[in-house]
């Protein structure tokens, strides 16, 4: 062993601190879902509230229940995949993201299906102006929070982790807009779901900037945590 490696190891050992919850992604996921969910509901209520009769339609429309459950599952699975992708392991990214993307695809497919088998005629009731931008803006704090948690782990492929975080964060307002904006599957696909793709793409770029760690300089004893 070289002398410099020996020094490095001594420095690392000297800076050792106990780790309370090693490898934990479930707790951050639960916190994020609770926080982002509460924030999403609050911001919707603060900016116009629910469409009249929207929540009651959950009791009468089985399709809407399935659609909502798919949305919730997509959000949770995307967020979980974002966090898991920041923990080194042998699982391929394709495998990690196949289920979340499949559920997200099924959710979008339900909207597509709605173009032919609607739960009722499209209605302008509850229409929000600029709902695309609202969805995108509503998603930003949740995105920042999830990105912060992801960054605290060890994202070895930050673009992918951040893209998943962006998709998860934007999927939440997309789900809430089903009850807060006008009912029309085409409108939902065009204006509520597209922020998911937009924030995933933006997230990949932001992730590159925010999470690509510069090479650290040689550590000294006591300088690391």
């Amino acid at each position: 062993m070289t002398e410099s490696r020996d020094d490095l190891i001594k420095g690392l050992v000297a800076s050792l601190r106990p780790v309370t919850t090693p490898g934990d992604t479930k707790r951050p996921l639960a916190w994020w879902l609770a926080t982002a969910g509460a924030y999403g509901v609050a911001i919707v209520l603060a900016t116009g509230g629910w469409r009249a009769g929207a929540l009651a339609s959950l009791r009468t429309s089985g399709d809407l229940v399935i659609e909502t459950l798919l949305g919730i599952a997509a959000i949770a699975m995307l967020a979980h995949a974002a966090l898991r992708s920041a923990v080194p392991d042998a699982e391929s990214e394709w495998r990690r993201f196949s289920w979340p993307l499949a559920i997200l695809g099924a959710w979008a497919a339900f909207h597509l299906l709605g173009l032919w088998q609607t739960n009722g005629p499209p209605s302008m009731l509850g229409k929000r102006e600029h709902c695309f931008w609202q969805g995108l803006l509503f998603a930003l704090p949740s995105f920042a929070l999830l990105l912060w948690w992801v960054r605290g782990l060890m994202p070895l492929r930050p673009r992918i982790s951040a893209a998943a975080a962006g998709a998860a964060a934007a999927a939440l307002p997309a789900l809430l807009m089903q009850f807060a904006c006008m009912y029309d599957p085409l409108h939902a696909l065009s204006y509520h779901m597209t922020p998911i793709a937009a924030l995933a793409v933006a997230g990949a770029s932001i992730g590159h900037i925010v999470m690509e760690r510069r090479p650290r300089t040689r550590p000294r004893s006591g300088t690391l945590h």
């Binding site: 080194p88 392991d89 042998a90 070895l156």
Partner: protein
């Protein structure tokens, strides 16, 4: 129980102890892993001047990311994913950073021999296509500047940079395709 199983159990146990703040177990683990990383990189890229820097960078990454290791999961996939990733990062950064290249004279002074002989020393490099292998070998491993390497290969500098980029992608793919728990 095989040596491999014993290593796995010991590394996992030592890292779990390190999570609790056991400095002795952590030091023992880092020293052992340092040797494992050194063998891993040498086997794939040959005995290179950058070997020690690469090993230390991997150890540093393991230290900063130790909180992501879950003792309930196998240690090897976690460990080798970090090592693979940091090794490729190390190569990529060295190529991408302008002005880090040295002249062929410098390379010769450092004891870097004929590129063909050095290639033979690393089994992974042998799996790359000849254009990728030459590009990677000359620019990073043998320490030639981009201009020198491009001239030597008879291609433009931009073509060389593109070739190096593809070679690094191919290297990362090859490392990922290896058994995940090596």
């Amino acid at each position: 129980m095989t040596d491999r199983d014993r290593d796995e159990a010991r590394w996992s146990r030592d890292m779990a102890a390190a999570h609790r703040g056991d400095a002795h177990a952590y030091e023992s683990l880092l020293r052992e892993l340092g040797g494992v990383i050194e063998r891993y990189v040498r086997q794939r890229f040959g005995a290179r001047p950058f070997l020690e820097d690469c090993v230390q960078e991997c150890l540093l990454a393991i230290h900063t990311g130790r909180h992501t290791y879950d003792p309930a999961r196998p240690f090897r996939p976690w460990f080798f994913t970090i090592v693979r990733n940091k090794t490729v990062d190390f190569l990529r950064r060295s190529v991408a950073a302008p002005g880090t290249g040295t002249t062929s004279d410098d390379a010769a002074q450092r004891g870097v021999g004929d590129p063909a002989e050095e290639i033979a020393a690393g089994e992974l490099l042998g799996q790359l296509s000849p254009p990728h292998r030459d590009a990677l070998e000359l620019t990073k491993l043998a320490g030639y500047s981009t201009a020198e390497a491009a001239e030597r290969l008879g291609i433009s500098q931009s073509a060389l940079r593109a070739r190096v980029s593809r070679a690094l992608r191919a290297t990362a793919d090859l490392l990922r395709k290896e058994r995940s728990d090596r």
